[in-house]
Structures are given as structure tokens and as C-alpha cells.
């Protein structure tokens, strides 16, 4: 093959062009690492820092919300199964209640003042007491007697000796509670509060206690 014709002018020009072309081509085709980009690095740049206080994560409230009435009813915690409805099973509860009342009234001797005992009883809890209906506007309630199982705002649920669960409305009835010879008559119409609310309630004599 004939050798490359070295023309002095053409080869000079073309080596310049070739060099420039080659550099430009290489620059475009090869990725430049950022570190080597000195121009970029040395130019003034402002970096904006965030206003950072480490945020505390809000803790979940430690106590549970509680169930509303519908959920409670669904759970059926307050219903007693028929096989558990036996009078004998509630007698220990009654004993517990008696001890509680005796402690509450400070002994309950024969010489205790009935007024004081009555005042204490107003704030006491009656779950486990033996209640008897003494007077009532409805004659069929009179005479029912049993251990109080649940006290609601308007009714008493008692279990009688015949293992029957009876629901007796408080209104228009007079109940008798007996401890150690003290018989206390409770006028149900004035007693229509939840047991928990009654502890803080001040009782005033309003209206008539006639049924």
C-alpha cells in the first residue's frame, strides 16, 4: 500500500482538529464523576439547613377508652346464667355485705344511734343485702324478698329464695333492710340514683314520702 501521504499543511490541520474532536467526543461519551468536576465544586453554593428539633412521638394513651353501653351489652358480663342463679351461691356475698356494713357503722351495737346508722346507710352500697318489699303501689310486689344482685338507676335485681331473679322497680315501693336487729325502710322513689352516684349525693327531703 502506498504510505499515507504526508502533506505538511494537511496533516497539521488535521491533527489539531482530530485532537479537539477526540477530546470533545470523549467528554460527551464518558461520565464524569462528580468529584472531578472541580468547577462545580468550587462555586459558591448555599445549603439550607432544616429547623430540626427531634420530634417526640405521641404515645398512645395508657388507659383503655372503655366500652360503651352497646359493647357491654354484647359482652353480656352483667347477665347471670340460669345455672348460676342459685340463692345459696349468693349467701357468702350477703355475709360479706353484713361485715361491710357492721364495719361501716362502727360496730352496730344495740346502743348505736339509729340516725347515724341511717346516714351511713344512705351512702352505702347495697349489693348483697337482703331486701324485702314492705309496701308498694302495685300489690303483687309486696312481700318479695331476696338478695340484691344488681342495682341500677331505676330497678333492683334480686334473687329470691326460690332461685328466681326478680326485677323490682324502685319507684312507688318501700324496701326494708335488716341488719342485726336494725330495720331500715328505704323509700324507693327517692332512691333512684346509680349506686356510684348515690355515694356523693346529698339527700334533701322534698315533697311527700307518700307512695
Amino acid at each position: 500500500l502506498p504510505g499515507v501521504i504526508h502533506h505538511p499543511l494537511v496533516s497539521l490541520q488535521s491533527s489539531f482538529k482530530a485532537k479537539a474532536f477526540t477530546e470533545a467526543f470523549l467528554k460527551n461519551s464518558i461520565q464524569q464523576p462528580r468529584r472531578h468536576d472541580l468547577q462545580n465544586m468550587l462555586s459558591h453554593k448555599a445549603v439550607i439547613l432544616g429547623y430540626g428539633r427531634p420530634k417526640k412521638e405521641r404515645r398512645k394513651s395508657a388507659k383503655a377508652r372503655g366500652l360503651n353501653a352497646r359493647q357491654k351489652r354484647e359482652l353480656k358480663v352483667f347477665q347471670i346464667n340460669p345455672e348460676h342463679q342459685r340463692y345459696e351461691l349468693f349467701l357468702p356475698l350477703h355475709e360479706l355485705w353484713r361485715q361491710y356494713i357492721i364495719d361501716l357503722c362502727g360496730g352496730l351495737k344495740a346502743t348505736s344511734n339509729p340516725q347515724v346508722v341511717q346516714q351511713k346507710l344512705l351512702k352505702a352500697d347495697f349489693h348483697g343485702a337482703i331486701l324485702t318489699v314492705v309496701r308498694s303501689k302495685c300489690p303483687s310486689y309486696v312481700g318479695t324478698s331476696g338478695i340484691l344482685v344488681q342495682e341500677f338507676k331505676h330497678v333492683f335485681k334480686i334473687i329470691t329464695r326460690d332461685d328466681k331473679l326478680k326485677v323490682i322497680p324502685k319507684r312507688n315501693s318501700v324496701f326494708a333492710v335488716e341488719i342485726n336487729g336494725f330495720v331500715s325502710h328505704i323509700y324507693g322513689s327517692k332512691f333512684e340514683y346509680r349506686a356510684s352516684e348515690r355515694a356523693a349525693k346529698k339527700f334533701k327531703l322534698k315533697g311527700t314520702i307518700d307512695l
Binding site: 314492705v134 309496701r135 303501689k137 300489690p139 303483687s140 310486689y141 309486696v142 312481700g143 307512695l211
Partner: protein
């Protein structure tokens, strides 16, 4: 309503050969007026003196009336009749036992609430009920001894409301033995009905068919009470006048029997009076007034009876020569009129 305290309910003239006496009223007094008669004829006298006696029991506990033996021997045969004595119908608790086996208790509000047996509020008090009536049919099968309602009533009367009243008790003839056990347990005394005879002279009597029934009844009551209808001018002017037209009778006999009287005794008296009036006499009529207790819880045919201004419930029977009779029936304001 308050103005019209007494209602004369019925005035009927009927002709019949048989007068039926409704035997369910508790009687305290019978008065008979025989015009133109100076002394009681012997038959009448014997009838009047043979009224059956009755017993007064002091402080009878009412649950004794539910005693099994007493029920079986006396009440079921319809032989007993009793009423509480000296208990006011509008204040105290009243008890009545009828021959048909109905026991009626008329209680005030507190006693009813303590007793705890089914009852109804009284018909005569409106709005707030202050009086209650417990009416029990002892012959009903649900009240047989041993049944639940019987036991409930018994425990109520024994332990809850210990009801005790003085009691007047009477029995039909032949039933005397059945109430002896009950009497032996209590403090009792026997009484005879009291008979009072009066001869009245110069009595102006109205002709019965020709005057207004109200005024005739008033005149009859005046004669019975011994009020003179002369209307003479004195410091007190009475408004009781003998209704016109009237005739003057020389004599008249007024007899009254008081006590707990049985229906069949009154029936006998009625028959006797009818026989008397049928015979030809100067006067053509005879009147008999039967009065009930003012404080009885029941008046005739088991209706409720109350006391507003007066507890009258009585009827007057006028019998005539020609087999006709007139019936005047009077009730107080707190009464139910029988049909």
C-alpha cells in the same frame, strides 16, 4: 252533684202476686207502719219476735274468716253473713262477708299498700285514689284452701296487715253449729234484734197513690222518727207537712226492729204483712221500710257503697189491698243504682 245528696231512684207501681226480695242487702232496721191499727195482730207479733239472733265478736282477726274449717262448713253452704261493726266506711277499714261467699274489704290507702293483694280503687274517689276495695270470691276454685291466692291472702292478713275489727255475724237457721268453732276462739256475745212498738194517735195520713212519692217518703220518715207534722205556730216553723189530701186516722201502729237481720226473716215479715193487708180493713195500705247499714262496704247486689253526706241505702215497700205494691228505693250519693 253535692246538692243532690239523696236520689230517690225508683218509684214503680206494680201488680203481682209474688214479691221477690233480693236477699243480698245487709239490714239494720225494718220499720212497719200499719194505719188504723191499735195493736199488732198475733201472727205479726210472733213473726216480729222470732227474728233470729246474731253474734257480736270483739276484735276478730280477719284471717279467721279464712279458716279452712269455717269455710267448708259455713261459707260454702251460703249460711253465714257478717259485717264489721262500728267501722266508718270513709275512714276505717271495713269488712263484709256475704252469704254468696264474697268477702269484701274496703281499705284505706296505707292498709291496701301494706296488704299486697289485688284490689281496685274505689269508684267514688276520683283522681288520687284514697280508698281501695278488695273483693274476693271465696267459693271460686282459685281461692280453695291450699291454692296460691288463698295462701297469699292468708299470709297477707296474718303477717303483713293484721286486720282486726269488731264483727257482727249471723247465720241462717240450722247453721249454728258451723260457726261455733270460730266463736269459741273469740270473745263473743249474742244479741236479739230489738223490737219497738208504738201506737200513734190522731195521725194525718196522706192518700198514698195521690201524692208525690218524695213527699210521701218524707212523711213516712217523719212518722218513723216521731216528728210531728202539725205545723202549729210556735217559735220554730217546721217544713215537714203532711201532704194533701190527707185523712185523719185514729190509731196507727209503728213497729221497728233493729239489729242484724237476715233476708229470710224479712221475707217472712213481708208475707205476714201481705196476708194482713189482704183482709178487709179500714186502711188499705201498709208500708215496710228496710234500711241497710250506713257503713257497709257493699249495698244490694254486691255493688260498692260509700258515704258522702249520708250513707243511706234503703227501700220502702208499700203494699195495697189489691195486690199491688210500690217500691221506693233510695241511695246516697256514693252508691251504684241497681238496674
Amino acid at each position: 252533684r253535692v246538692r243532690n245528696a239523696e236520689r230517690c231512684a225508683r218509684f214503680a207501681t206494680r201488680s203481682s202476686t209474688r214479691v221477690k226480695h233480693e236477699g243480698a242487702v245487709s239490714t239494720v232496721q225494718v220499720s212497719v207502719l200499719l194505719p188504723e191499727c191499735s195493736s199488732a195482730p198475733s201472727h205479726l207479733d210472733s213473726v216480729l219476735n222470732n227474728f233470729s239472733s246474731f253474734y257480736l265478736i270483739k276484735k276478730l282477726p280477719v284471717y279467721e274468716l279464712l279458716d279452712r274449717h269455717f269455710l267448708e262448713t259455713a261459707v260454702y253452704h251460703g249460711a253465714v253473713f257478717g259485717l264489721s261493726y262500728r267501722t266508718r266506711i270513709d275512714e276505717d277499714n271495713c269488712v263484709a262477708l256475704m252469704p254468696n261467699g264474697h268477702l269484701t274489704l274496703s281499705l284505706d290507702k296505707d292498709s291496701f299498700e301494706i296488704l299486697g293483694f289485688e284490689g281496685k280503687p274505689s269508684r267514688f274517689k276520683h283522681r288520687t285514689a284514697t280508698r281501695f276495695v278488695v273483693s274476693v270470691d271465696l267459693t271460686d276454685s282459685s281461692m280453695a284452701p291450699g291454692r296460691r291466692s288463698y295462701l297469699r291472702l292468708l299470709t297477707s292478713l296474718k303477717s303483713r296487715l293484721q286486720l282486726q275489727t269488731d264483727f257482727l255475724l249471723s247465720h241462717h237457721p240450722g247453721g249454728g253449729a258451723s260457726i261455733q268453732p270460730l266463736l269459741s276462739r273469740c270473745d263473743w256475745s249474742q244479741h236479739r234484734p230489738e223490737v219497738n212498738c208504738r201506737v200513734l194517735t190522731n195521725l194525718p195520713c196522706p192518700a198514698p197513690l195521690s201524692c208525690d212519692p218524695h213527699s210521701f217518703l218524707e212523711w213516712l220518715g217523719a212518722v218513723d222518727a216521731g216528728i210531728s207534722c202539725e205545723n202549729s205556730s210556735s217559735s220554730f216553723l217546721s217544713s215537714f207537712v203532711c201532704p194533701e189530701p190527707n185523712t185523719m186516722h185514729r190509731h196507727a201502729l209503728s213497729v221497728s226492729v233493729s239489729g242484724l237481720l237476715l233476708p229470710h226473716d224479712i221475707h217472712r215479715l213481708l208475707q205476714e204483712l201481705r196476708r194482713y193487708v189482704e183482709q178487709p180493713r179500714l186502711a188499705s195500705w201498709v208500708s215496710m221500710t228496710v234500711r241497710g247499714f250506713a257503713d257497709s262496704p257493699v249495698s244490694c247486689s254486691n255493688h260498692e257503697h260509700g258515704f258522702l253526706r249520708g250513707g243511706e241505702n234503703f227501700y220502702t215497700l208499700m203494699m195495697f189491698h189489691d195486690h199491688t205494691y210500690q217500691l221506693h228505693l233510695a241511695m246516697g250519693a256514693h252508691d251504684v243504682c241497681p238496674p
